[in-house]
Subunit: 382 residues, 4 copies
């Protein structure tokens, strides 16, 4: 093949871009797709790219990849490690890294399209390449759909997506039905009253309020969710205060919530809100906390029939043992918006990015979670 995929990968890895800022990545992907003969459209949903390859009569498959990186400072020590920084939505300068492997996704997409084009006489139909921005914000698929892609491009008969994970290289994980959880991102502003650090009684300390709230939120999962159910309540960020001796007026938390279905989602959201409001009361806060939704991701549900066909294809390509049921993932994806809005069946699968030898040794030792950096870790290196 003519495209040097390894060079493409290390280049993308070295130059990660935050959500909705993926202009360099999008440009590179678009250029490759154009070189391969696709009809290419850029700037869709801010920075998304669509490539259409019509290859005669037949069904239309949407192949989706995501391309944004994370505000994580890379610590892998790899020769092609990122030293990039970016400005996050709060205006803070942060390290940026492809800590979730979307650089792999773009590279794999280009490689796949190159092969589809090369082997165009072996299949018929239309391939729509969808390279979406801002998967990490759970907002990119929505943005492309809101930009009218269902009207502007061939309607899908199937939507296909994939994600690299810490499974051994060569393994495909896919299951019919629920594959990834539903998720909400919340932002919570806790209002206290500011003042001098030496006069706490004249203030309402928002940092102590935040700490009490975070400790109490732990009890939602530990006490209020059926131990058989899967639910996650993560406080992923907290920011409050500018100086050691000023008690600030408020504290801002960002929460990530996960659940496999809508019934548990409703319950957990209620409980989380109840805790937040009651803790503000316990502090004697004079203003209600502000709770805003950052994003809502639906559960990723694989179509039964389409998944069976895809699994069979993977088995014939990679061997029967290479395809496993990875179980329900607690992570979430916005790929399913494409399927939900279009009414097309979805197949979303995982592929392994971990050294099989390390994986096998760690699995035997029961230290998998410890030995292999997971997605979003500063050490993630598939």
């Amino acid at each position: 093949m003519s495209i040097d995929l390894e060079a493409l990968y290390t280049d993308l890895h070295r130059h990660p871009e935050l959500s909705f800022q993926e202009t360099r990545t999008a440009g590179i992907a678009a250029a490759h797709l154009r070189d391969l003969g696709l009809e290419v459209h850029e700037g869709i949903g801010i920075t998304g790219v669509i490539g259409v390859f019509a290859n005669g009569a037949g069904p239309t498959a949407w192949l989706r990849a995501d391309m944004d990186a994370l505000p994580v400072t890379e610590e892998t020590g790899l020769p092609y490690a990122s030293t990039a920084t970016g400005v996050d939505p709060d205006g803070h300068t942060v390290g940026v890294m492809h800590a979730c492997g979307h650089d792999m996704h773009v590279t794999a997409m280009i490689g796949a399209v190159e092969r589809l084009v090369a082997e165009r006489d072996q299949w018929q139909g239309t391939v729509v390449v969808v390279i979406q921005p801002a998967e990490e914000y759970g907002a990119g698929a929505r943005a492309m759909l809101d930009d009218g892609i269902l009207d502007r491009f061939p309607h899908p008969d199937i939507v296909l997506g994939q994600h690299v994970t810490p499974l051994p290289v060569g393994t495909i994980g896919v299951r019919p039905g629920p594959q990834m959880s539903a998720s909400d991102g919340l932002q919570v502003v806790l209002h206290g009253r500011g003042g001098h650090g030496s006069r706490p009684h004249a203030t309402i300390d928002p940092i102590v309020l935040a700490a009490a709230t975070i400790m109490r939120l732990q009890t939602v999962v530990s006490r209020e969710v059926d131990p058989h159910d899967l639910a996650v309540v993560t406080v992923g960020s907290i920011h409050s205060g500018t100086k050691n001796n000023i008690i600030p007026p408020d504290a801002t938390l960002q929460l990530s919530l996960r659940y496999p279905d809508d019934q548990l989602r409703t319950k957990v959201l209620e409980k989380v809100e109840r805790v937040i409001r009651a803790e503000a009361m316990a502090s004697g806060a004079e203003r209600e906390p502000e709770i805003t939704t950052l994003h809502t991701l639906p559960a990723t549900i694989n179509d039964e029939d389409a998944t069976a066909r895809a699994a069979a294809a993977f088995q014939s390509a990679f061997g029967e043992q290479a395809v496993i049921d990875p179980g329900l993932f607690t992570g979430s994806e916005d790929v399913s918006w494409f399927a939900r809005d279009s009414g097309a069946p979805l197949v979303f699968w995982f592929w392994g990015g971990a050294d099989p030898a390390v994986f096998a040794a760690s699995a035997a030792a029961g230290t998998l979670d410890h030995d292999i950096p997971t997605n979003h870790s500063p050490f993630f290196a598939p």
Copy 2:
């Protein structure tokens, strides 16, 4: 008098500058002092100003004012409210406000020097005006001393300083002995292990660790300090994480600790460190927390004799009832470094900045702390 002090004050208030960045303020103060005939030196201890006025034989008095503002966004709604922003030491853009009244201090100093110069035939000796930067960082006095001012300027026979507070206008608060507390500023970095927000078991969550630490730190004052003793443990800032669905690798806290003496200081520091280390253990943290000292401020101890003389002078000037014993303040000051390093006696007093009518009504209603914005509040408006 020829200097429009009100215009000076509102101008300074409108243009606050963060610690060690007070170039505009220093320039204005230096210009006034020069106009008044003093020998002026700028850029001492980065941005400090020294003005010397020799008026014949006699003792040398150092008059000290501070001039830095705070990273607080003003919410007073005053016509001369600040809309300024600045960049704090972490590189964050923050609102800036004279929320501690140092604009008043500079204005009062210029007014006092104007009068001393005008009435120069009524006194003899040398006045050294010390306008220091970065009192809020507890670092400005140190910086000026490290810049050699004890060698370069007339040695003090007495050091005088003052601070505006929410006492009624016209009231002076001063006491012999301990006037303000000793204080330490600590920075604490709590190390966890980062990862994806949906896989908490593969991480060590530093935000939960921080929350547990903050809640436990409350028990130092509530359970471990003699209720008769005065101690304050404030967590003034916490920063961790960049996004709702990433569990970050660490969390950074800034603490402000107060105590009236060295014995209690030692105890509280030990207890605070014990809590921080044990909570990291409770989380199974793989790296010890890093605890660094941001600043150490000694107790502000007023000289007995000099304070008696100053109090008598205040009484003859403002009336006997205007001078009160304000008790030991929990706040801290770096003014005493000037006295400690030079060996000169110190007198440091408070002057009222609150509307006497509002003060009286609030005191009667027992709502003083609520009605009158204290120093460091975004509503502070003496």
Copy 3:
């Protein structure tokens, strides 16, 4: 039939007895078994009863029931509600109630034996009735085995047990493999230092230590266990102090831990112990916490073949739809000691005790957990 089972049930319900104190219950059960013609042995494992019914050649089945009640004050308002009290192992007088349905188990056993005896010509073999004490302490099965029952009575070819649950009446829940969780009961004594309630600084407050420990223990499940895994960490009792103004020297907690397998058991026990020891450190405790194991219950694992046969028998008796897979229960049982020690296969199933109409309405409304009192509730009324 001649035995009035309803009268037997209401009589047992009215007269509940705590673990290892079930002398009245044991006597009644033994009398019935004797009347039915069994060879009966009492006082085995303190208060256990064995009844042997040899009915010709054939396999030996052990049928096991448990008979102890719980230290719960009944609030059902039923005409036959318990008003009994008992003395628990700590010497405290407590209300006692059959809040877990063991009165049903004894009644059902007598009814079943009556029928087996009546229909003795339809089967062959030996039935050993095992009525065990102290299932709630996880100690009764062990006590009977330690009393030598495997040597003294016919060896089982199969062990059968059952439990009433809030499933609808007429439903049988049974599954091959893991049916109930492994469990440990821990007692934790946290040592502080006692003193007067007005002088906390001269003490080490064990109640604050206990509170911090309990809050921190929540994070074991919420943060350290894979959300896909089932684990429960319950603090079921806390006792400390005698008076409002004395800070006591220590606090005693009792914990109940659940997990489906030994690997997670090891992890959770390690984490729980780590939290307990670190929190004692955070309090500056001078003595290590004492952690003792109250009981260890193995997972209840149903034999695949025997369960298939039992399920088929249930289906033919109650209808195909009456038999469901109830999933893995978080509760634990000590019945499996009989199977583990003897090497015989185990089948343990659940039978419904809830009004089907109430159950159906609650299930539709999603309020099952709320509407139907669960085992161990003071309102439990199957």
Copy 4:
């Protein structure tokens, strides 16, 4: 003198009695007083004793001692250590000990009366000996007053009381004005919903609710009370649950609150109640917590003039340096009800019970709180 006070003391120490159960102690005291010629009345305020000694014209002094012991198991190892047990108001059997020195108070009273009687020709007037029960419950003075003692016995011109403390032997601590704090004892019942320990989601866990409440209560003192003010919020007992695997329906806390004045009392009570109610809300509790007042003790305020005279008398008797200002104590007393109800001035003082050598060494080492067991400690041994 004829009474062997040491034998009396060790006998009383060996036979401590809980509040309102002091029949043996009262009997012994009454017998001694009768032997000394006083007119004695027993059973006043349940177990109180009044002895009247009329010695001619002159003022009437009430001398008050208290006689109840505490539910503390003695650990002093003294030859005359208590091994007594008693039944507390909750029906629990507890160790009982004179851990607060009331045995000393009774002994000292008998010794003082013996001497007053012996030296009757050196003074004139009436002495009323008041030996009250249940000082530890803050209820004994109230009970005696409610029994009509102001009407039945000579009205006091002065009320005198004393307490042994860990000051060096030979030292008297007394001050005009506030001598001991006001105090409230609260009982709080937190209602959850009970259930099986393995099904937390079907319950509302009152133990987690209690833990969160206790941690939050720490912030009342650490954040909401002016660091200059003295306030104590102690949770002295917590009881919940009977067994490790039952989640109980409720938890009961007992709190002891201290403050020097009524204004702070009102604030602290409001804040404590706010925290308790909000934490119940955070748990989703279906019933409000029940907060009941166990006792309310007023501040012990010494009369200025009477205290000056008493201090002078102490100085002439024990030497000038023996009399110190002990500061405001955080402990509380019900002695002041006698003064408040009668309108008579009060003098209440402390006398030292610590070995002066140990005291001096510990004070020098700064380990006083650690080395000398304080009142209510199981090691208290004046």
